[in-house]
Structures are given as structure tokens and as C-alpha cells.
């Protein structure tokens, strides 16, 4: 890896020593992977828009170079949608947590999977609301054997199944403890023409004492090389097969781009907006 090229991604960003994540936070791995991937993809910072969610993970937008936006809890995908609809030449990546994406923002997640804008969503999934001190998120309970459920403590949402059911065209899973593989997934996500979702397991070392690095190392397993990611049935089978065996699949689980209409950057500048003729509109009101 070209270290000088990685350095570019540290400009216009919060200095490393001021990063406010707990030591050992999984998000460090995501940050490292992101930089590697961006170097490999030869994306320049000015053409990149990082849309951060609310929570520890969303802070990543300020920890590397590139344009950044940050609004409401649950909002990143919809902001990203607007950015991408306005200017398809931009590279857009939404960086959010599991609470942001699957609780307060699930309305966006479901429909963005259908809309399929050409952007990336990387969820740093740790099963907890870290920034508010560890409440359960909708993905809480991964790998835990619970026999009785209640309204207060329902079974977890499986992000991969939700994405498949919602019509996503690219679904991958990674573990931030494996930076190289996570970077690989980010590269493939950016290369996918359409909405690319990566569910990244990013351990919360402070509030999730169950799904630790050790737990993940014992339970993750790469998607077998003979898996055909373009086959949706195969994707469902793969997820179910892994679940039965108590394993968590890493890799591209589903990838099947949809034909897309070409779009262009919308008119922005004075010259593009001048000399508008509204006569055809008026004609319909006479």
C-alpha cells in the first residue's frame, strides 16, 4: 500500500490523536480499510461525499479527507439519495451505525434498497447504541441463545435478510478486525453500479461484552468460493446455512445489478438556468 497515498486521506481531517473512539473500537479498522479502499479506487477527496449518521460511527466522516455531511439520526441514506440524484458524478458513501440504519432509519433503508441509487452504505454494526452508553439496538443478540422473547426484547433484525427482502442489489458482510477484507468489500461496493450495502461487524469494546473480537474470530467464515452471488436463492440459502451452523458469513452474499436509466448532473449554474421558456406550460392553462 502506498503510504503517501494513504496520507492524502488524513488531510482535512481531525488529527489522528484527537479521534474520539475508545481504544480498540472496531471503527478504527473501518477507517483503515476505508483509506486503503479509497487509495485503491483512486478516488480523489473532492469528488467524495461522506454522509455520516448519528452515533460514534458517524464521526468517521471527519476522521478522513473528503466532503462530509451529517444531519439527523436515521437520515444519511436520504441525504445521500438527494446528493446522488443531483450529481451522479460524485462518489457517495453513507457511514452509519446499526441503530441509525435499522431502528430510526429503517424506513430509509428499506426504500433505498428498492431505489438503488449508485452509492455505498457501510453500517458499523455493533449491536448497541454506543454513544448513549450501550442500549440494545435492533441487531442486538447476535449469536446469543435466548429461548423466550418479549416485546421489550425481540429477536434481532438480520440486516442481510432485510436487505435481500427489500430488493438490494449488492449485499456484503465484513468484520473490521479483518481490515484487508473489509477494504476489499468497500472496493467492490464502490464498483457496484447501484446501491451497495456492507454490513460490517465493528465490535464495541465498551458496551458489547458478548460480540467481542474473539467471538467474531471464532464465528466468522468466508463465503465459499463456489457461491454464486448473482443467484438470489443461493444468497438466501447461504445465509440460512450459516445461521444453522452458528456461523457468520463474510464476503459478497448477493450482487446482481439492475439495468439503470442514465442520469446527468442537474442544472446548477446561471448559464444552465437562463432562458427558460415556460410557454409550453402556459399553453396548457389557456
Amino acid at each position: 500500500m502506498d503510504l503517501m497515498a494513504v496520507k492524502v486521506w488524513e488531510e482535512n481531517a481531525v488529527p489522528k490523536h484527537r479521534i474520539q473512539w475508545c481504544p480498540g473500537c472496531g471503527d478504527f479498522g473501518v477507517l483503515a480499510a476505508l483509506k486503503q479502499a479509497l487509495v485503491e479506487l483512486e478516488i480523489t477527496p473532492h469528488e467524495l461525499v461522506l454522509v455520516g449518521g448519528i452515533g460514534c460511527s458517524g464521526n468517521i466522516r471527519n476522521y478522513l479527507n473528503g466532503n462530509a455531511f451529517h444531519g439527523t439520526h436515521g437520515g444519511p441514506l436520504a441525504y445521500g439519495l438527494g446528493i446522488k440524484m443531483a450529481n451522479p458524478h460524485l462518489q457517495v458513501i453513507c457511514l452509519a451505525g446499526d441503530g441509525d440504519t435499522f431502528a430510526i432509519g429503517v424506513e430509509n433503508f428499506v426504500h433505498i434498497c428498492r431505489r438503488d441509487p449508485d452509492m455505498v452504505l457501510l453500517v458499523m454494526n455493533n449491536g448497541v447504541y454506543g454513544l448513549t452508553k450501550g442500549q440494545d439496538s435492533p441487531t442486538a443478540g447476535l449469536g446469543q441463545a435466548v429461548e423466550v422473547w418479549s416485546e421489550e426484547h425481540p429477536p434481532m433484525v438480520d440486516p442481510v435478510l432485510l436487505a435481500l427482502a427489500s430488493g438490494a442489489t449488492f449485499v456484503a458482510q465484513s468484520f473490521s478486525g479483518d481490515v484487508k477484507h473489509t477494504a476489499r468489500m468497500i472496493v467492490e461496493a464502490f464498483q457496484h453500479p447501484g446501491f451497495a450495502f456492507i454490513n460490517d461487524f465493528s465490535p464495541c469494546v465498551t458496551y458489547n461484552k458478548f460480540n467481542t473480537y474473539e467471538w467474531f474470530r471464532e464465528h466468522v467464515e468466508f463465503v465459499p468460493p463456489d457461491h454464486d452471488p448473482s443467484d438470489k436463492d443461493a444468497a438466501w440459502r447461504l445465509v440460512q446455512d450459516f445461521a444453522r451452523r452458528g456461523k457468520v458469513p463474510l464476503g459478497v452474499i448477493y450482487r446482481n445489478p439492475r439495468p439503470r436509466t442514465e442520469t446527468r448532473r442537474l442544472p446548477i449554474w446561471e448559464t444552465e438556468l437562463a432562458d427558460v421558456d415556460v410557454e409550453p406550460i402556459l399553453a396548457t392553462f389557456r
Partner: protein
């Protein structure tokens, strides 16, 4: 005595969807407009169902531009109802006659569909009303074999009753444009239908010996005009103002904007998003705006409530978005098809914390266009939410608008966007503290430079901070934009008459035409009242307004909500006491009732006159009950 009518007010009523009330008034509005007359159909009477409710569309026709749609007194009533079961003892479908004939003036005209039998009209005849039973549906079904032409039968009948378009020149032209492509037969069938309607009226005239006193005459002026709604006008304004991204979620009465934009914006290179919910709409608009496109959303009260969260994002991240609120009667779902001015507090106060914002409220269909051009510039310049408050009647109501209006178009200026050459090689601070409070932005994709934009409190670079000095500096900077706006762009209210020493009526937004007409009535009654009317509602241009009220008589604020939301704002900003005339029963304000209510309010300090309420006059607790201020 026969003569040319200067002014005819017609009400067309029927069963919603089934009877095609709007089809008839749409034809009337277009034809009167083409004939050089002025049609105003601003009072929309429909229900929040698709089928079956009573629907009515009043339409005023005048030979010179009218002030308002006038009082609910009709010269002509057109009842399209028929009874699907003529044998039923109860005849349920006579709502137009039952509900509106008390408002038909003596000697007026009633046309009703008599296909399923005649209805008792003795009491109307006793008032000199000329009654025309027209079996329009029967003619359409039995003679013309097409039920759909029943409304054209009635239109032909109405034209005869108004002595208008005797040779169907105008109707023929409209039919040819509309149905010409479907073939000659369709046009001929419709003309035959109109002719049959005409004949029925002729026959009644002969039988009853009626003479018609009004003759509506075309007044060709050579000036082109359109028959258009506020929603459509603001859509044209937005397109001319450079908006190229629109997002909305279906909601009455803002859906018309979504439909307009879906039809037209792509032809001007823009995109339209029907959001999956109100929040996706506004968030996508924020994203599009961030990418540099002028972006707009539209909704009504319930949807605006859902968007409130994003007002703060827009304010804090300084990403311009135009937010149209086509108000309807609240609270909650309220009355979706009824007008109200009840969202002022929501748009001036919605969002936690303080943000800069600008609230504009057009007072006519024409201003939906002109003020929208202004909204586009203001949002861009001040990088803050710009609210555009219309209401149900202004949104969906239609009127004749001279096309000269649309030639008024100042050139678009993109404000405060730095280009590559202006920023290259220099440190860029997205939230630089400037004297105006406006920090120039860059668009993502500008080579060699990036921005960090955030709804979390941030420093000049956009990085998160809780440093007290930086926080205060950013808050001061953002709110400074309002001072800059007041100095550079705020507009004074309309002022009619002399406020000094006289009682002053105050209004805002869509009520101006009615208030102007109410003022005329009061002047005729010898009450020298002035009218001050706001379209630039917030922040209130205090420096421009204070002198108007310095030596004024009693101030009566007239608005369509329960509490007097604008009156509260005025009191708070100017430290004056106001009296209030309020209406919130879902019916628009009418000139005479406003004049009466203002007159009552002038009698007593602290008076709150509630039009249509069971307790019409209330004196505020704390009012001393004395006359004068």
C-alpha cells in the same frame, strides 16, 4: 331591465367525482378567460373523500379584475345532482339546492338536473328565482347515448341563461382543442349536447315567460391570460427561479405541486422525487441542495410537522431549501380540504434551538409566482429554510391571470458559491465567520477543496466542537443572517390608506383580496380604516413596520386560525395591543362578514371576534373594556 353584467357569481354543485363539478367550472373558467373576462374560483368546496360527498365550486366572473371572490351570494346556482333511485321516498341528492339556495339572490337563476324528476321550488319562485329544470343526464343517456356529455348539456344551458357564447364560438374552440384529436364526431357530439341544453332553456323561457336580465359579454382585449391555480403558479415560479429538484409526499393540498413538477420539471432538466415519507422528501432535498441544485419541498401541515426535525438540519448545516406549506385546517389530520392559516407558529417556531429562517406568504395567485422567484433567491443567499405559506384555496383555487406576469423574471444569481479558482490552494472554512453571517459555500466536486458540513455544533471548518467561544461565534454568525436579511431584503407590508390616527386592519398571506374588499365596505360605511398586509412575515421587518403603528388607532388583526398567531407575533415584536377577528370553521373569509366583525372589534378594547363561532365576541382577560387603545 336588461343589460351587460359586470359581475356574475355562479355556484356549481353536485356529488363529488360522479357529477363532474370541477369539470364544469374548469370549462367555465377557461372559456370566460378566453373571452377576456376574469374568472375567480378560489373557494373550493370538496370533502376528503373521493366519491359521494357534496361538492361545490363557486366561480365569480367579472369584466374587470376583481379584488376578491366576493361574498357568498350567488346570481346563478347550477345543481348537477340526480337521484340514482327516483322511487326512493327520500331524495338525498339535492344538496346543492338545499344547502346553497338560501344564498341565491332574489331574482337569481337556478338550473338543476331534472332527469329523475322535478323538485319543489315554490319558495324560490316566490323570491323571483327563475328556475330551469334541465334533464341533462337523460338527454345525454337517451338522445346522445353518452352519459359523459351531460355536463356539456348543462354548460350549454348555463350559457343560454347567461346569454353568453350564443354561437358557441368559444365552446367549439375549446372542444376542438381538447377533443379534436379524437375526431370530428366527439366535437360534434359535445356541440350537440350544448345545443340541446340551450334548447331546454329556450323552451322554459318561452313557457314561463321569463326575461333574462344579465348578459355576459366577451371582452376581447388582446391580452393573453391563463386560468391557473396557485400551486401551478408557484411551480412556474420555481422553474423560472432555478429550482431543479423537487420532492414531495402525497398530501392535500400540496399534491398539485408534486403533479405539476412531475409533469414539467424533467423537461427543464430537473428531477422530482415522490418520497416514501415526508422525511425522505426533505432529506433528499437537503442532499440535492448540498450538491448545488436549488431544491424545494412541498407539503401541508401534517407533513410539515413531520419535517420539523430537518428544519434544524437546514438551519445548522446552512443548506438552502425552500419549503412550501400549503396550509389546511388543523390540528392533527384536521380538515384536509378546508383552508386555514394555522401553521404560522409551526414554521416560525418548529425545531429545537434557534435557527435563522425566512417566512413568506403570498397574498394572491399572482404572488405565488412573483414571491416564489424571491424565495428562490433568498434561500440561496441566506442558506437557510425559506418557508412559503399558501393555503388550500390559494393552492387549488383558480383564477384568470394575465400572462404579462410571467415575463417578470429577474435573472438568477447563484449566491455565495465559490468556484475552483477562488479556493484553490487556500484553506477553506465552510462556516467562516463573516460580517453578514453568510459563509460562502463550495459544491462537492470542486477540484482541490473539500468541506465538512454538520448539524452537530461545529467550528469554522465544520469540525465538531463544544468550545463555548466557538459555539457562540457560530450561533451569532447564523443568526446574524436575519439582521442582514432585514437590512437588505425584507419588504415592507402593503399599506392601503393612512394608518395615522385611523383604525388599522392587519392581515397576512392569502387573505389580502378579501381584506381589501372589506376595507372598501368599511369606507363606504364612513369608517376610515387602513389596511396593513404582510407577505414577508418573518422575521418581521420591525424597522419598516413600527412607524406605521406609531400613531395608529386601534389595530385589528384578521386571520384564519383560532388563536391569532400573527397577532401574537405582531404584539410580541411591536409591543402593541391588538384586537382580533378570527375564523376557523373551515370556510374562507368573506368581505362583508370581515367588515362587520372589524366594526364590532372597534367597539371594544381587547375584543376577539370569532366569525362563525357559537361565542362570537369575547373580551380578552386583562382588557379594561374601555373604548380606544
Amino acid at each position: 331591465m336588461s343589460g351587460r353584467a359586470k359581475r356574475v357569481k355562479i355556484l356549481v354543485g353536485g356529488v363529488q367525482l360522479r357529477d363532474g363539478v370541477s369539470t364544469v367550472t374548469e370549462i367555465l373558467g377557461r372559456i370566460f378567460t378566453r373571452a377576456g373576462l376574469f374568472a375567480v374560483a378560489m373557494e373550493r368546496g370538496y370533502a376528503s373523500t373521493i366519491y359521494g360527498a357534496h361538492q361545490y365550486d363557486p366561480i365569480l366572473v367579472t369584466d374587470s379584475p376583481p379584488l376578491s371572490y366576493g361574498d357568498p351570494v350567488y346570481d346563478v346556482l347550477v345543481a348537477l345532482e340526480y337521484d340514482s333511485n327516483p322511487d326512493a321516498a327520500e331524495q338525498p341528492n339535492r344538496d346543492t339546492v338545499l344547502r346553497h339556495s338560501p344564498f341565491l339572490r332574489d331574482e337569481g337563476i337556478l338550473l338543476y338536473d331534472s332527469s329523475t324528476g322535478e323538485i319543489p321550488t315554490d319558495s324560490l319562485r316566490a323570491r323571483g328565482v327563475k328556475v330551469f329544470p334541465v334533464p341533462a343526464r337523460k338527454i345525454a343517456l337517451t338522445e346522445l347515448k353518452r352519459e359523459i356529455v351531460k355536463n356539456v348539456v348543462m354548460t350549454g344551458a348555463l350559457f343560454r341563461a347567461l346569454d353568453f357564447d350564443g354561437d358557441f364560438t368559444h365552446l367549439r374552440q375549446l372542444l376542438e382543442e381538447r377533443f379534436g384529436r379524437k375526431g370530428r364526431d366527439v366535437v360534434d357530439l359535445n356541440l350537440r349536447a350544448a345545443q340541446r341544453g340551450r334548447e331546454v332553456v329556450e323552451q322554459v323561457l318561452a313557457e314561463q315567460g321569463y326575461t333574462l336580465e344579465v348578459r355576459l359579454e366577451p371582452r376581447p382585449s388582446g391580452r393573453r391570460a391563463v386560468y391557473i391555480s396557485g400551486n401551478d403558479c408557484l411551480g412556474i415560479g420555481a422553474i423560472q427561479g432555478g429550482v431543479r429538484f423537487y420532492a414531495g409526499y402525497p398530501i392535500t393540498p400540496a399534491s398539485g405541486i408534486l403533479e405539476f413538477m412531475e409533469r414539467w420539471l424533467p423537461r427543464y432538466g430537473g428531477r422530482v422525487l415522490q418520497g416514501q415519507n415526508e422525511r425522505e422528501s426533505i432529506r433528499a432535498a437537503i442532499g440535492a441542495s448540498l450538491a448545488g441544485v436549488r431544491a424545494m419541498v412541498g407539503s401541508s401541515g401534517p407533513g410539515i410537522s413531520l419535517k420539523v426535525e430537518e428544519f434544524g438540519v437546514i438551519g445548522a448545516t446552512e443548506t438552502p431549501v425552500i419549503i412550501v406549506d400549503a396550509q389546511r385546517a388543523g390540528p392533527s389530520t384536521g380538515m384536509p380540504t378546508r383552508p386555514e392559516q394555522g401553521d404560522l407558529n409551526l414554521v416560525i417556531g418548529g425545531a429545537h434551538g434557534d435557527i435563522p429562517r425566512i417566512v413568506l406568504a403570498p397574498s394572491t395567485v399572482e404572488e405565488c409566482y412573483t414571491l416564489m422567484l424571491e424565495a428562490c433567491e433568498l434561500a440561496d443567499k441566506y442558506q437557510c429554510p425559506v418557508f412559503f405559506l399558501t393555503d388550500l384555496n390559494l393552492s387549488e383555487g383558480r383564477k384568470t391571470v394575465l400572462e404579462d406576469l410571467f415575463a417578470q423574471r429577474p435573472p438568477i444569481r447563484r449566491h455565495g458559491i465559490l468556484r475552483e479558482e477562488e479556493v484553490r490552494g487556500r484553506p477553506y472554512r465552510r462556516y467562516e465567520v463573516t460580517p453578514s453571517g453568510i459563509s460562502p459555500r463550495i459544491l462537492p466536486g470542486t477540484p482541490g477543496v473539500v468541506f465538512k458540513s454538520s448539524g452537530v455544533e461545529h467550528d469554522e471548518f465544520g469540525f465538531v466542537t463544544i468550545d463555548p467561544r466557538k459555539r457562540a461565534a457560530q450561533m451569532d454568525k447564523r443568526m446574524q443572517k436575519l439582521e442582514t436579511y432585514l437590512r437588505e431584503d425584507a419588504k415592507p407590508p402593503y399599506v392601503f390608506g393612512e394608518t395615522r390616527g385611523n383604525p388599522v386592519m392587519v392581515g397576512w398571506g392569502n387573505t389580502r383580496p378579501v381584506l381589501q374588499e372589506a376595507r372598501e365596505i368599511l369606507l363606504q360605511r364612513g369608517i376610515r380604516v387602513a389596511l396593513v398586509h404582510f407577505t414577508h412575515v418573518y422575521p418581521l421587518p420591525k424597522h419598516l413596520v413600527e412607524p406605521l403603528f406609531a400613531d395608529a388607532g386601534p389595530v385589528v388583526v384578521v386571520e384564519q386560525n383560532y388563536s391569532g398567531q400573527f397577532a401574537d407575533l405582531l404584539q410580541r415584536e411591536l409591543l402593541i395591543r391588538t384586537r382580533r377577528v378570527l375564523k376557523y370553521n373551515g370556510v374562507p373569509l368573506y368581505p362583508t362578514e370581515v367588515a362587520d366583525a372589524v366594526q364590532r372589534a372597534l367597539h371594544q378594547e381587547g375584543a376577539v371576534v370569532r366569525i362563525g363561532s357559537s361565542a362570537p365576541v369575547k373580551v380578552e382577560v386583562g382588557g379594561d373594556g374601555s373604548d380606544g387603545r
